[in-house]
Amino acid sequence: MSKSTAALAIGSIITLCLLGIWIGQNVNFLPVDASTNATVYDELFKALFSIGSILFFGMVGLVVYSLVRFRRKPGEKGDGLAIEDNLPLEILWTAIPTIVILFVGLYSYDIYDRMGGMQSLQTSAHHDHQEMESIQKIWGGIGSGSIDSTNKNLKDSIPIEVTAMQFAFLFHYPEGDILSGELHVPVDKPISMRMESKDVIHAFWVPEFRIKQDVIPGQPTILNFTPTKTGKYPIICAELCGPYHGGMRSTVVVENENDYQAWHEKNSKVSVTSS
């Protein structure tokens, strides 16, 4: 390899990396981030997007370059060079993806841990009225949604029981015995949801929170999160559950503390009188 081609190759690799990093950092493919999970998630997304862009444009570049540079010109005869193997090269392109994969794996482990995914669900499921037996049956979900989650923090969280059925979500607030078709939560407060389905599998998804968890019949699941931006966001059922699966939606209203208290007050009275 002559000096100029080497310089050219290194130059294009650097340009490629810069381009990839720029794309990852600046092209936004995601909706607003409205929970503590979302900010952490977006960090991972940017990293993956950068790495992915570098790999993708690099491969496309190589293929297109080969097709143009090494195409058979009209009337040309003969074969290419009979190169069958190159051990150093093979080692190189085994090592690079391995390193990338290890990096991505460790990084996403870290992210998942910060989302609370590695927390034991038993501790975060603190519904006092739940017997041991049913807690043991809890299958999965995501632990606390706050980065600096401590058990104290979890104690403060608002418990909500979610029931999914064809084709609606039902939210029950044990504190105040409120039953609602719309999820109301105060901003910056950890929420702890225990979800169970009445018929088939559904899934609770709020894109702006970057969280999703299947709601399974017979096996409760747990989902914890902390909203960070007030507003109304869609709750979407993400698991095929029948003809009206596409219409199985609801809204989560993230309000400031006062509005939430007002809503809570108003509705708990109603449910007290009605029941």
């Binding site: 993708f56 060079l81 009979a82 994969i101 992210i111 299958w139 899934a203 096996q219 869609p234």
Partner: protein, 563 residues
């Protein structure tokens, strides 16, 4: 030490087979006829599956459910997924090209079990017709191609049961095919031909058949249990009777993840055959290519739960499957870099076959990268069951496997028919397919990340624009099939004669007439010890026997290169 196989004298059974066009509709035992049967049958199902996909895309032009009733939409998408996977990709990349090519590649005159082979093929059309007829009987299955209970237990039983029966038949056909391939490759090899001299497609089919034999029976067992739940009201997967729905998902994905490699490994093999021929270079890194196939086979069994990150799986399980899944990128990456290295420094003829193969590389890399992203639990928690996943797997199954099938048709059509396809129309076909495909599926990444779940007939109006672009892309893809169909049908009658070996290729199927005679070679089977012996070697000029020269005298130069 080499031993030759003289033509078999006991071909009375073959004499009874009909000749001419009729044999393609007969219970023929000839592996070449069966291969073509698989290919044409698969393509018809592709058109049906594609028509269903078009119906999906028409429905999704508008955000409300207006084109068809909601339950019909679910039936259509279930049929689309099932047909495309079980009746198009799997039978064609394995059955069609496998049957046609593997006996050539191992130097045999037929498959190990010709009769079983024919039986395996003839299970497919009835199964497919059964599946499609369920739509007209009482409504087809409507729980997606994954048929997750309890939904699949509670939806109308007739359609679901027919779906199960049909998938069982197709699975059985697949297992018979797999057994046949394993026996053919391991036992029927021409004496003197070592395993490490086989063309790469043999390795791909061997790996795939191992996957088929080990994983398909689990699916069969699972579906039998599911049908018990529907018919006999047992409670395997019915929570109200104490069953467990997640167990079904584990069993299903234990098959269906390996199934995705059943759809793509043979495609890898086909590309490895096509690229060296047209770039006139040896396949780069033969040994690592073989090991990476085997690595994918092993790893493929250890990653199934990445489809279940939100299904309520314990944290340790999610992490294990994240790591295992990500690592599949390493052997897959090796293959891609080796293909690029094969192109590098070659003298590449830019024809339709090469274009589709290179299109495959580009599309698959994108699909693979989104796959690695999906493998990260925290990422998947947001992206699972959204259009991002739909985009991921169409980039792989369409941009990957289907592109390779087209590439292979352009490459082997002269062998199948003895005539050439029109390359200009082929390039038009490529351009339309490539543009339509990317227009259709690229926007779906954005749709999924921004909140559009999959399997819905109605969606939030904010997604109208990209859905319509996607539908336009699907329209272009549908149109792109027309020049292809015209090309294939027209060239069969009027295409220029191809000669035995139009590409001056070295793999054994080209070392016989086009189309080949009944028992593949008039004389003895050739021993091809270097299937990729292309290229000029500046150090040892005497070995440069395979250089592409004038077409006319290429015959004498296809001398095998002995070690």
């Amino acid at each position: 030490m080499t031993i030759s196989i003289p033509p078999s004298s006991s071909d009375q059974s073959k004499k009874l087979q009909p000749e001419g066009w009729l044999r393609y509709f007969s219970f023929s035992l000839d592996h070449k006829v069966i291969g073509i049967q698989y290919l044409v049958c698969g393509f018809i199902f592709y058109l049906i599956g594609g028509a269903l996909a078009s119906a999906i895309r028409i429905e999704l032009v508008s955000p409300i459910s207006d084109f068809m009733p909601r339950d019909v939409y679910n039936q259509v998408l279930t049929l689309h997924g099932t047909i495309m996977i079980f009746l198009w990709i799997v039978p064609v990349v394995n059955g069609a090209f496998g049957n046609y090519l593997i006996p050539f590649y191992v130097g045999a005159r037929d498959m190990a079990f010709p009769r079983l082979n024919a039986v395996a093929f003839w299970m497919i059309p009835p199964a497919g017709l059964l599946l499609i007829s369920s739509y007209f009987i009482n409504g087809a299955a409507q729980s997606g191609w994954t048929a997750y209970p309890p939904l699949s237990i509670t939806t109308p039983a007739a359609g679901q049961l027919i779906w199960i029966l049909s998938v069982l038949l197709l699975g059985g056909s697949s297992i018979f095919g797999g057994i046949n391939f394993i026996a053919t490759i391991l036992k029927l090899r021409r004496p003197g031909l070592r395993l490490m001299q086989l063309p790469m497609y043999c390795w791909a089919i061997l790996g795939t058949s191992i996957l088929v034999v080990l994983s398909t029976p689990v699916l069969a067992g699972t579906l039998v249990l599911l049908s018990f739940d529907i018919v006999a009201h047992t409670g395997f997967f019915n929570p109200t009777l104490g069953g467990n729905v997640v167990v079904y998902q584990h069993l299903f994905w234990f098959y269906s993840h390996p199934a995705v490699y059943i759809m793509v490994l043979p495609a890898f093999g086909l590309v490895s055959e096509i690229l060296p021929v047209h770039s006139r270079k040896p396949l780069f890194g033969y040994t690592t290519m073989v090991y990476s196939i085997m690595a994918i086979v092993v790893l493929g069994f250890l990653v199934w739960a990445h489809h279940m990150f939100t299904s309520g799986t314990p944290p340790w399980m999610r992490l294990f499957f994240t790591i295992a899944t990500s690592f599949i990128a390493v052997p897959t990456g090796i293959k891609f870099f080796n293909w690029v290295a094969t192109l590098w420094g070659g003298k590449i003829s830019i024809n339709s076959a090469v274009l589709f193969s290179c299109g495959f590389i580009v599309n698959f890399v994108l699909g693979g990268i989104t796959g690695v992203a999906l493998a990260q639990v925290p990422f998947d928690v947001h992206a699972h069951d959204t259009y991002f996943v739909v985009a991921h797997f169409h980039y792989i199954v369409y941009g990957g496997s289907v592109f390779v099938i087209f590439s292979s048709i352009y490459h082997w059509y002269p062998k199948f028919t003895g005539r050439m396809l029109n390359d200009s129309i082929g390039k038009l076909h490529f351009a339309l397919t490539f543009i339509g495909f990317n227009l259709c599926f690229a926007p779906q990444h954005w749709l999924g990340l921004n909140g559009m779940p999959r399997r819905v007939a109605e969606y939030d109006p904010q997604f109208i624009f990209f859905n319509q672009i996607s539908s336009v892309g699907a329209l272009i893809m549908a149109i792109s099939t027309l020049p292809f169909l015209w090309n294939v049908i027209n060239s069969a009658f009027t295409g220029p004669l191809a000669g035995d070996n139009p590409w001056s290729a070295l793999t054994p199927e080209w070392l016989t007439s086009s189309p080949p005679p009944i028992e593949n070679w008039e004389g003895e089977a050739p021993l091809v010890s270097k299937p990729y012996g292309y290229g000029e070697n500046p150090e040892k000029p005497n070995l440069t026997s395979n250089i592409l020269s004038d077409q006319s005298n290429s015959d004498s130069e296809e001398d095998e290169v002995k070690k």
